[in-house]
């Protein structure tokens, strides 16, 4: 196993809202090895994006990291100064967002935006900076990069725009890229293309990735390990193939059951009843308990996340092999 690159432990990010304070992320711990692709799955509001932003130190007030640690190559990131965090962002950990037409600045050329990202970290000459931009654009599959670099974002298609955003994230050769639903806003056919390319790009460059998505199918095709979040907490973690074959948490099984490709042919897709509770008003104990078919009195206390480097689950009644249909 490759050495640990990112070590998140006990991460808790709290938002003070008018209705009271809530923990968007609570006690989340996981590691990412060098070059590894980890999938982070959950519905909207589960805290997966906030986890990504917390790692980058990009939580805006009224939110803040109240406890826990984020270590990159053994160096603690929580509590770093603004300047130290800024110089870490983009150079060591980069991030790609969901909608490239919202992330790229519509009034600046691709080259300007890429050069700004380079200039934030190193002082390359004009020619060298331009050459780096063209090289990275080529690497993410933009044809005729030397000419296209002078274009504006609106002159690219959606898929190409996301490639440009990915190129900007890659510019400073970060060791880790946090991908926050980078294919969700794209056409399905383009999605598959970008998934495959990013996977091979990561393998070639040795870049680790945290792939955040609500879409289990997408995540399962890129990531080798999966983390499932629910209501701000990590509820299941493990190697992708094992979790898919045999989920331990009833929520994970519910997610799998609602996937078209995963349900047995001819059967209806299974919905998880109810919706995720509001973080302001969480049920006592396990947050999934009101929607869970296996819940009993014991579930009124918060289950601990089972220890272990391999598979972990936060459930009083983890599903054993025989309970899986």
């Amino acid at each position: 196993m490759s050495p640990v690159l990112l070590d998140v432990s006990g991460l808790t990010t709290r938002f003070a809202t008018r209705a009271g304070s809530l923990n968007a992320v609570e006690d989340v711990s996981f590691t990412v090895a060098e070059g590894e692709i980890v999938g982070l799955v959950g519905e909207s509001g589960s805290g997966k994006s906030v986890t990504g932003f917390s790692i980058l130190g990009l939580i805006d007030p009224p939110g803040r990291i109240v406890s826990g640690s984020v270590k990159l190559n053994g160096r603690e990131l929580v509590g770093l100064s603004h300047a130290e965090l800024r110089s870490m962002r983009g150079r060591e950990i980069a991030m790609v967002f969901q909608d490239p037409s919202a992330t790229l600045n519509p009034v600046l050329t691709i080259e300007t935006q890429m050069r700004l990202a380079i200039a934030a970290h190193e002082n390359l000459g004009d020619a060298a900076a331009r050459a780096r931009c063209i090289e990275v654009l080529g690497a993410v599959g933009i044809p005729d990069a030397a000419r296209r670099i002078e274009a504006y974002p609106h002159q690219f298609s959606g898929g190409m725009r996301q490639r440009v955003a990915i190129a900007i994230a890659l510019l400073n050769r970060p060791k880790l890229i946090i991908c926050d639903e980078p294919t969700t806003a794209l056409d399905v056919s383009i999605q598959a293309q970008i998934l495959t390319e990013m996977k091979s790009l990561a393998a070639r460059l040795g870049t680790a990735m945290i792939w955040i998505s609500h879409d289990l199918a997408t995540v399962s095709s890129v990531a080798s390990r999966i983390l499932v979040m629910y209501a701000g907490r990590l509820i299941e973690a493990g190697p992708m193939a094992q979790v898919l074959r045999q989920p331990h948490h009833p929520y994970t099984r519910g997610l799998l059951g609602s996937l078209p490709g995963m349900a047995p042919p001819g059967e209806d897709l299974v919905q998880i009843p109810g919706t995720m509770p509001s973080l302001i008003d969480l049920p006592k104990g396990c947050a999934f308990q009101p929607r869970c078919g296996f819940a009993d009195a014991q579930c009124a206390t918060m289950p601990a996340l089972s220890a272990g480097a391999g598979r972990r689950v936060r459930c009083h009644h983890p599903l054993a092999a025989e309970t899986v249909p």
């Binding site: 980058l56 990009l58 800024r86 110089s87 870490m88 962002r89 983009g90 150079r91 980069a94 991030m95 967002f97 969901q98 909608d99 919202a102 992330t103 790229l104 600045n105 519509p106 009034v107 600046l108 050329t109 300007t112 700004l116 990202a117 200039a119 934030a120 970290h121 504006y152 609106h154 002159q155 955003a165 900007i168 994230a169 510019l171 400073n172």
Partner: protein, 324 residues
């Protein structure tokens, strides 16, 4: 781009023609300049001679066509009062107004946009609240009153700055300007400050609203995630994204101040076109009024055209739409 400009210039011709008809009819419908021009005890003969000399005996349409005919040759007529070509008269006064207006609008923008951006960037800080309080004052206190207060404070009580007139001027491109001499600058300062307060308040509001909005977008988040410093983000990303409304208001304010800086020019005895037009209205100096109003229309057309060209320079998406 060139096609777009040509199209707009042709449009401008039509607009100018319509405006000339409106202005001519409007101005010629009110009052009788003869009563103002000659003494009441003049003989009937002199009276009729004067009317004929100014062409006032002709029907309105004939007068208008004559006017258009002269206009084509670049002749706006002669002032009834000053007895000199109207254009010479206006252009002798225009530089004074132009420099006053430019000083006010540029000063307001150069100060208002950065302060507004700061107020939008840190909306909860004490400095931002102070900036917004000043901008509310700039909006709500009448210009003439501030002008009087400024004169009273800086000219009368403190004696730091002169209370009126242009002061010494120096020549550039054959035109006399106040801003080229120190004495002229001291004369320019108070009236420009007076005119700029409202515009400053406007720029602060615009920049603040724009910045607040843009700071929440993914563009800023993405730039932060790439490690850009806050200064670079504000200067390179945010400023460009909020530029279009600012340029629009800059143009509008520039045009309207150029045309109607009357109040401030009167208070500070600034010898600009604003005072000229007020005088010409009270003496029913029709050629001056007509020429001035047409000039104002022309300025607005030119300013709007420049603003549109600036849009295309600022936002590439507008460029392609036009080319298509």
């Amino acid at each position: 781009m060139l096609g777009f400009i040509i199209q707009r210039v042709l449009q401008a011709f039509v607009v100018m023609l319509v405006i000339s008809a409106l202005v001519f009819t409007g101005v010629y419908a009110v009052g009788n300049p003869i009563d103002v021009l000659i003494s009441p005890d003049a003989t009937q003969l002199i009276r009729e001679q004067t009317i004929r000399a100014y062409g006032l005996d002709q029907p309105l349409w004939k007068q208008y066509l004559d006017f258009l005919g002269r206009l084509v040759r670049g002749d706006f007529g002669r002032s009834f009062v000053y007895n000199m070509p109207v254009l010479d008269l206006i252009f002798s006064r225009l530089p004074a107004t132009l420099e006053l207006t430019l000083a006010a609008v540029i000063g307001a923008t150069a100060l208002g946009v950065p302060l507004g951006m700061y107020a939008g960037y840190r909306p909860d800080s004490a400095a931002s609240k102070a900036i917004m309080a000043i901008s509310i004052l700039g909006f709500s206190v009448p210009t003439f009153w501030i002008g009087l207060v400024l004169i009273f404070t800086f000219a009368v009580s403190l004696g730091w700055l002169p209370a009126g007139n242009r002061g010494d001027t120096a020549s550039l491109f054959g035109i006399q300007w106040s801003f080229l001499t120190w004495n002229g600058l001291t004369h320019l300062f108070l009236p420009a400050l007076n005119l700029s307060l409202f515009k400053f308040a406007l720029m602060v509001r615009l920049a603040r609203a724009g910045t607040r909005e843009v700071m929440l977008t993914d563009t800023v988040k993405f730039a932060r995630a790439a490690g850009l410093s806050e200064g670079t983000i504000l200067l390179r990303h945010v400023l460009r994204l909020i530029a279009i409304p600012i340029v629009t208001v800059f143009g509008l304010e520039f045009g309207s101040t150029l045309a109607f800086a009357v109040v401030t020019e009167t208070i500070f005895s600034w010898p600009g076109v604003g005072k000229l037009i007020i005088d010409s209205i009270s003496t029913l100096d029709r050629p001056v009024m007509v020429a001035y109003l047409m000039l104002v229309a022309f300025f607005f057309i030119m300013i709007n055209l420049s603003v549109d060209v600036a849009y295309a320079a600022l936002d590439p998406r507008l460029r392609t739409r036009r080319a298509a």
